[in-house]
């Protein structure tokens, strides 16, 4: 072995080890999970339709880390430890998010230090109460009441209610999240109690003996529907 090669090998080893540290960061490892609740009860949304943004300041320009709630009203994010501010942008979600005096969404401070779970308390316009869903291989029926939560200046009317049936557990008013639906205007249900809807159960290929069902409420002037949690009916 020539001496040059020995030095060369040594140098290579030094370089190889030297490049392994310092300039590589660990991936974020603190898991933040959260759920959107009213008095402890989780709200339901359409998958990937209600957005939230996390901000972490102190690193130059401020920009959001945008993401969306899942359809069961939960969120999930892998973050570095630190202090974050969370907002739900204006016009998002079937609930009232607090605003600052200038009309911008108010922020919720979240201190992330290791994995943790939070409850995000919001005021929905309505809540779906006493939901009963019954299904057979031919039809699904749903009975429920609506309770108005937001009152006064924030109160909004119900535009329509609907029952959605889908073969996968993504169920909503979105075109490919429903195979059957029944929609009725709120005027059919004065008092918003004893609302009853029914929809046909579609036959699918390959055949399956279950369907996923949920009911939704469209609130006048609010784009995002409010949903119940998805229920699986087996027949």
């Amino acid at each position: 072995m020539k001496p040059m090669n020995k030095y060369g090998l040594f140098l290579l080893g030094v370089l190889a080890f030297a490049s392994c540290k310092k300039d590589n960061y660990d991936a974020p490892s603190s898991q933040l999970t959260g759920r959107v609740v009213y008095q402890g009860e989780q709200l339901g949304f359409e998958q990937n339709q209600v957005t939230f943004e996390l901000y972490q300041s102190g690193f130059g320009k401020t920009g959001p880390m945008g993401s969306t709630f899942k359809q069961d009203g939960t969120l999930n994010a892998l973050l570095f430890n630190g202090t974050y501010k969370m907002i739900v942008p204006n016009g998002q979600g079937p609930f009232i998010w607090p605003k600052t005096a200038s009309g911008a969404p108010d922020s919720l401070v979240i201190n992330v230090n290791g994995s943790q779970s939070i409850d995000i308390n919001v005021t929905p316009y309505y809540m779906i109460r006493n939901l009963q869903i019954n299904g057979s291989s031919s039809t699904v029926t749903a009975k429920f009441d609506l309770e108005q939560i937001a009152t006064g200046a924030d109160a909004k009317e119900v535009e329509e209610v609907a029952l959605f049936v889908n073969k996968t557990d993504f169920v909503s008013n979105s075109g490919d999240h429903k195979m059957r639906e029944q929609k009725k205007p709120a005027s059919d249900f004065p008092g918003l109690t004893n609302i009853s809807l029914n929809a046909e159960v579609p036959s699918v290929t390959p055949a399956q003996n279950y369907m996923f069902v949920r009911v939704g409420v469209k609130i006048d002037g609010v784009e995002d529907w409010l949903y119940s949690q998805v229920q699986k009916i087996t027949y």
């Binding site: 320009k61 942008p89 979105s174 075109g175 002037g221």
Partner: protein, 622 residues
């Protein structure tokens, strides 16, 4: 001795060459770039700078922007496997259609500043200078119009900004102007420059008085309808006015739109008229978009192309019928949908679905094109239907054969004895999958479908037909339906419709429908539906059925979320043997639905832009 002479020569040469003054030595004129004082002393050089600025205009649909810029919104089906996201997705991202090119604005502002310098006046004539300045301002106003259509109010920068390198750029951060302020800017610029521009249409690829007025009338119409129809979507607004215009301003804008359009109509901006060169009305309508000669007095402002000179586009290559392709398999991408085809009226001006019968009893036709007879000439001027001719060859659109008992016999390969060379077969790209091909903009010139040659059909940005419809809409909104009917009847008569509209016939649905069929595939539909605030109703995210299409003809808010097709079959046996029947078909690739959300009305402003300039407020509902 010799050495001494050589050394002294070299020494002398070195010494003398080093004797120049430093400033003389370093200050030599560049040989590769033209300094701005040289450029702005010669009209030809100024025009070449302006040529670059013209070339950078932004259009929504454009022939050199690719066929896909025409393809969305269920008005057509994309017959290219890599583009099926257009029909498989379930909506648009909030960032879609955004534009934010302040580099272009800066270049325009620099051009205007240098053009306006006093020493320029000593070099070129006052007439040239005024025209160049007006052209620069036209392009700037046109781009601000393009931005406000997509983004709402944007920072209004009308001078070149200069950074002082002191580390604090906050003095350069401008907040968004109100949406109305941008429209006002476009309108006032058009008014101020119109008399510096030529009042004739000798050169349509440069700004003219008519182009400025056409821009003004369109901009004022957009502003007026946002003011009026904004009330139907109250959440699509910002209390500070960057998005949304007060309803009280609607009439003012409509008045401006009508006045500007009338200024073109009364010929004070040069001779304009509807194109009527050919006796066959269908050929005539198609020729509006092909004829670049002086016979065409309809086009007002165009993006011109020139074959064999480096400026061509591939629209014909991409969209020519497969059987008539100049370029082997390169063809057939843009297939107009049945949704659009059904919108064309009968010649007596009434709506009627194409009579294909029902699944129980189909109506048989001797010739394929018989189904489309007696319709608005714009149908076959815009769309190649089964049985139509292109480049003197008849299209071979045939989905298969059908027995008298109703059994369909077909295959997955085109071009055999069962399926026509032109399709349709589900999923077979470059052939039609709806049964139709595009005709508008399609170049019948020999060789124009080749990739190497390309087509030089011009893209018409503003034309007289649209000006008439602008005037009609503005008049209708101002409560003058008789005036509106007069303008609309001019356009409809040219399309062969025999029964004129009366004042009582004019309503919002009529206005919307007329623009949809007259201006199809010209880049209007998105912005029209946005300003009328009906985009979230037409593209509401629910699947479209055949009965949705045929039962709501001419209704402004009828949904159109999925493109349908109409497939011709040849009858094999029985009394109708050899005849053709049609079956409505949703192409199997259409699995998504168009869902236009409230957050889509104004394209998102990027996080990078808002981080760099915190005074920029975000769009509503996003």
């Amino acid at each position: 001795m010799k050495k001494i002479i050589v050394y002294s020569i070299v020494g002398l040469a070195t010494a003398l060459s080093g004797c120049k003054k430093d400033s003389d030595f370093l200050d030599i004129p560049p040989v590769q770039v033209l300094p701005s004082e040289t450029v702005f002393s010669d009209p030809a050089l100024i025009l070449s700078v302006l040529g670059d600025l013209y070339n950078r205009q932004v259009d929504f649909s454009s022939l050199d922007g690719g066929w896909r810029t025409f393809a969305d919104f269920s008005e057509s089906f994309p017959s290219e496997n890599g583009s099926d996201f257009l029909v498989t997705r379930s909506g648009w991202g909030y960032g879609e259609w955004g534009t934010w090119d302040y580099g272009y604005i800066r270049d325009l502002n620099l051009f205007l500043q240098r053009m306006d310098a006093t020493e320029v006046s000593t070099k070129i004539t006052a007439g040239d200078k005024a025209r160049f300045l007006a052209e620069g301002r036209f392009l700037r106003a046109n781009y601000y119009f393009e931005m406000v259509k997509r983004m709402g109010g944007v920072p209004l920068i009308i001078e070149p900004m200069q950074y002082d390198y002191k580390g604090d750029p906050t003095y350069l951060q401008r907040p968004r102007a109100k949406e109305a302020e941008i429209y006002d800017f476009v309108i006032s610029e058009a008014e101020e420059i119109k008399n510096d521009l030529p009042a004739n249409l000798a050169d349509k690829s440069r700004a003219t008085k008519a182009a400025a007025l056409a821009m003004e009338s369109r901009a004022a119409l957009y502003a007026g309808s946002i003011a009026k129809y904004g009330a139907t979507t109250p959440t699509v607004s910002l209390s500070t006015g960057e998005v949304g215009i007060a309803a009280s301003q609607a009439n003012g804008y409509y008045t401006i739109a009508l006045r500007a359009a009338n200024e073109i109509i009364d010929q004070s901006a040069g001779t304009v008229s509807l194109y009527r060169a050919l006796p066959d009305l269908e050929e005539n309508f198609a020729a509006i978009f092909l004829d670049k000669s002086s016979v065409n007095q309809e086009s007002i402002f165009i993006e011109d192309f020139k074959a064999f000179a480096g400026k061509t586009h591939g629209f014909t290559t991409n969209d020519q019928p497969y059987s008539r392709s100049d370029e082997g398999g390169d063809a057939g991408r843009l297939n107009p949908s049945l949704n659009l085809v059904e919108q064309f009226e009968l010649l007596n001006g009434t709506f009627a679905p194409l009579p294909i019968g029902t699944s129980a009893s189909r109506i048989a036709y001797n010739n394929q094109e018989d189904l489309f007879a007696g319709r608005d000439a714009r149908l076959r001027g815009t769309i190649l239907v089964p049985g139509a001719y292109f480049k003197s060859g008849q299209l071979k659109i045939k989905a298969g054969e059908i027995t008298s008992a109703g059994t369909i016999v077909t295959t997955d390969a085109s071009g055999g004895s069962l399926v026509g060379t032109d399709g349709p077969v589900n999923g077979l790209e470059f052939r039609t999958q709806t049964g139709f091909y595009i005709r508008k903009w399609l170049d019948p010139q020999t060789g124009s479908g080749r990739r190497g040659r390309g087509s030089d059909v011009a893209f018409i940005r503003y034309r007289f037909g649209e000006v008439l419809l602008n005037a009609a809409e503005a008049a209708f909104e101002l409560g003058q339906p008789a005036v509106a009917a007069g303008f609309m009847n001019q356009v409809r008569e040219r399309a062969g419709i025999t029964t004129p509209l009366t004042a009582a016939d004019i309503n919002f649905d009529r206005i919307v429908h007329e623009r949809r069929v007259e201006l199809a595939f010209e880049g209007h539909i998105l912005f029209d539906y946005k300003r009328w605030r009906i985009a979230d109703k037409v593209w509401n995210g629910d699947a479209t059925s055949y009965s949705d299409i045929i039962n709501n003809l001419g209704k402004a808010t009828a949904k159109s979320t999925q493109p349908w097709g109409l497939w011709p079959y040849r009858v094999q046996d029985g009394a109708n043997a050899g005849k053709w029947i049609y079956i409505e078909t949703k192409p199997s690739r259409v699995t998504g639905v168009n869902r236009f959300q409230l957050g889509n009305y104004y394209s998102a402003i990027g996080d990078d832009i808002r981080a760099a300039n915190p005074t920029i407020v975000r769009q509503p509902n996003q």
